[in-house]
Amino acid sequence: MLSKKNSPAVKKLTGRIITANRPRNRNVVAAIALTAMLIASVFSIGMSYLKSTEMQQIRLMGTTAHVAVTNPTDEQVEKLRDLSYVETVGLQHNVGLIKSTPEMGNTTLSLHWYDQTEWQKFRLPAVEDMVGSYPEKYNEVLVSLWILHNMGIDDPQIGMEIPLDYYLGEDREVVQTTNFVLSGYCTDYVYIRSGNIDSIYVSEQFAKASGNTVQNNGAASVAYCDSKDIDGYNQQLTKDLSLSEDQKIKTVPMYESSAAASSTAVIAFAAVIFFLMLTGYLLIYNVFYISVAKDIRFYGLLKTIGTTPRQLKKIVTGQALRLAAIGIPIGLVISAVLSFAVVPMALNMFDLATGAEISFSPVIFIGAAFFALLTTLIGAAKSARIAAKISPLEALRFTGAHTRRLHKPSTSGGKINGMAWRNIFRDRKRVVIVLLSLFLGITTFMVITTLISSMDTDNYIASYVENDIILENNTLDVVGTDNTPKQKFDASFLAELSKIEGITNLRTTTMEKMEMVYDSSQFLQHMDWFCKKLDVEEKLTEQQIQDNFWGYIIGLDSRYIEEINKDSGNPIDIEAFERGDIALIGTDNPELYKNVDVMDISISSTGATEQFDLGGFVPFGFKYAGGSMAPNIYVSEQTLATLVPDPKIYKVNMDVENDLEKQALEKVKTLTDDDYEISRTSKLEQQQAMSDTKLLMYILGGGIALVLALIGILNFINVMATSVMARKVEFAMLESVGMTKQQLRQMLTLEGLGYAAITTLLVGTLGSVITYVIFKLFQQQADYAIFTFPIIPMLIAAIIVFIVCAATPQMAYRSSSSASIVERLRQI
């Protein structure tokens, strides 16, 4: 009944206290603004990140649909459209298969048809740079740019003729040829995921004429109302459509594990927000605590003359709320300016073409405002309680410095070192807050710099690109294509290559198809492993196995074996390898081959046969991962050359001397460009492609790390300065009994250095452990990350901490020690 009536007095007091505390207000407003800004920025950067990864995933999937129902009947399609939990239904079916040519490399292309819904709702959002439209006339096609590029068309025009050889329907025997007309093109990304399997899209008329139908050759794509419980919807759908045995609901891979992935993201986000709130809380709490402690007599007076505890609480939280009303909008505006102006500007300045998508949503700002407000209220709550609980008498005696009762009597009583050390631990709460904020700030700084440097995209590239430049011969991929293997890297080509300045360590890998004699006593375990890997359920007969028991014999440069031997406890006999007595099996599970002694093989192209002893192992997929049921075996290059005259070179690996990378790459490019049968991978090109990402990470991550470190240091300055202010009288007393100003300053500096030493010790031990643990967790997500202890950032941080710690108490003292001793003593 009182609370409503007394509000004018409380409001008046709140307002007046705010006007009387300008410097403190600035601190609080800055702290609140910083908190709001950080939360909003992290939200918006995080959302942008999530959005762009989701977009990337959708592009890789090639569709925004959730599942596809295979071979649906017309009734089922009708039923689907009526289901309440189904939002969109698109139809598609396969029309035919494009005839493979060597120029296409290891790509598989089909002709495919989408209905209007499928194209507009599911497919169009997953492609980029769409020009033209979906085919309408009989002979129109829509082709993606990478396919056009492989066809040798780099400058496509709408309306140009595209002649295609294809098989229609199931019939693989009759090749048909049509001059199609290009009605549209776009960039799609599906082939990256599917391994160069993609489609050319045809019109409805063409699709109908092919004789294929949705029911026989197609699927209905389905988007549910939400993506939260795809499995649940799938079960419901199976019931509602009464699907037959052959029909399946295929979930788009992106949604298969989405639940787990998104919950990790949510946890990570929650942790970050919690951390930001914690640092913000420490700042706000500090400023308020100090302010209330300083004015404790004032609050005591208010209580004496009749301000109730509840009203006192309201006065303190009221101040917090009013300051939040200023601070939060400022923080949000800064964050908006940062995310919409500064970050894009910085990106432009560095000429980044990534088009980092800045996500804007009012929810971010509402959320940030809410969390910042919450932080402010929690930060002020403790001080409000102190103000409310204060007994009027205690307020008159309050000095803000509690001393622990237990003091060991010591003979070194008056020594400055000892006094400084005891002063540090005098107020336990203050020690904890100072050390915690410094520790958290510096440790976060370390964690983030560690993560950023470990995420170095150069590491990422180095982890999967083994040499500076790698060339591959596409014509040797024969599975599912009618490629004829060609010697793309002949002697003259290799001579040209080795003439290029800076090329070192040039190694070739030859490869031939071979058949192996299947002996179940030797290869039973291998076949078990093989069937399990490929989900072969039926029991294969010995004959079936023997018919498919082929693979590749790969000729390796002996230097590879030397390198493998270096890291192996069971070295391979290089002399025997070079003589051609032994062959190696490419596997990661050597125990599968413990029954294997000898292998009888015959080269497919020449029919030459040979017997090898098993001489060791190389990792599975070393240099080449393709093949069939037989394991791929590795012999020396010269051995393979004795079996096959002029064996085909599959791969050329080479390194380039430092500083010559660019010009060497240019020369290799001129040798290989325009030849679609050769594919090239180079470290330099990959690094260039990822340098934008790297810079973006440095800018964003470095910025956040710096701000967090600053918060820690700000907190320290704040607490130290006020603790010195609060001890003004004590210092005056010390001076009055004979401590010189010089000695006082020395004591204060020692105190500051003590904090610095403890902080550095904590960061160096516990902080390093935390950094390493977080790095390990992170590495599970990104296995290419390499741990590098952030020595330089840590040294810089330590130096800054020491300087700040030594300087702050001094500065605070200097600003308070100008008055005479008597004046200062009377201030009590």
Binding site: L2, K4, K5, A9, V10, L301, I305, P309, Q311, A388
Partner: protein, 234 residues
Amino acid sequence: MLTKEEALIKNENAIVLKTSGLKKYYGTVPNLVKALDGIDLSICKGEFVAVVGTSGSGKSTLLHMLGGLDTPSAGSVTIGEVEMAKLKDEQLTVFRRRNIGFVFQNYNLVPILNVYENIVLPSELDGKKADTEFIDKIVLMLGLSQKLFSLPNNLSGGQQQRVAIARALAAKPAIILADEPTGNLDSCTSSEVLKLLKTTSKEFNQTIIMITHNSEIASLADRIVHIEDGRIVA
């Protein structure tokens, strides 16, 4: 409307304040300090009592106990029929602002509020509308009419103490507790302030309990209570 307790306090000549066996000890043996050591005191409505004693005799502690600013180690303080120690913090504050006015040696005005705001603050905190007529009267009596919108820092000591007295009177409390109200004032101003305090309290029939170590000032009181070593000696 008055509560039962308040009605009792308003009643003429009733005992308005009573302490029995009031003790306040600080510290533990062997450093035990007996600030108050069994005080039994009854004060009637409208009485002007001076508490005298040397420095450290316990007179300030007694005043703090009477005003509910401190809690006794033993014994009780009863105002009207309310035992102070039994009130919760919130209730105690409300009780205090309605029934007790304080005047301190160092005035204790709220520095961020002007004279008028300081005077009406206790009533406003109570959610009441200030009785403007009554306040005008006090202001006039205390000679503060010209200073109503000044901030405390711009006033002389005597003026500040007059504001403090005005504030103590404004909520029409039954009891005024004054802790050396003239301790910081010169003798001329002192006697002026005291005269004002006495006239206003007579005018509004308020009980005054005042601490002083000045016997001249004490002689103005209806009754003098002498405290030494935490006990009443005369």
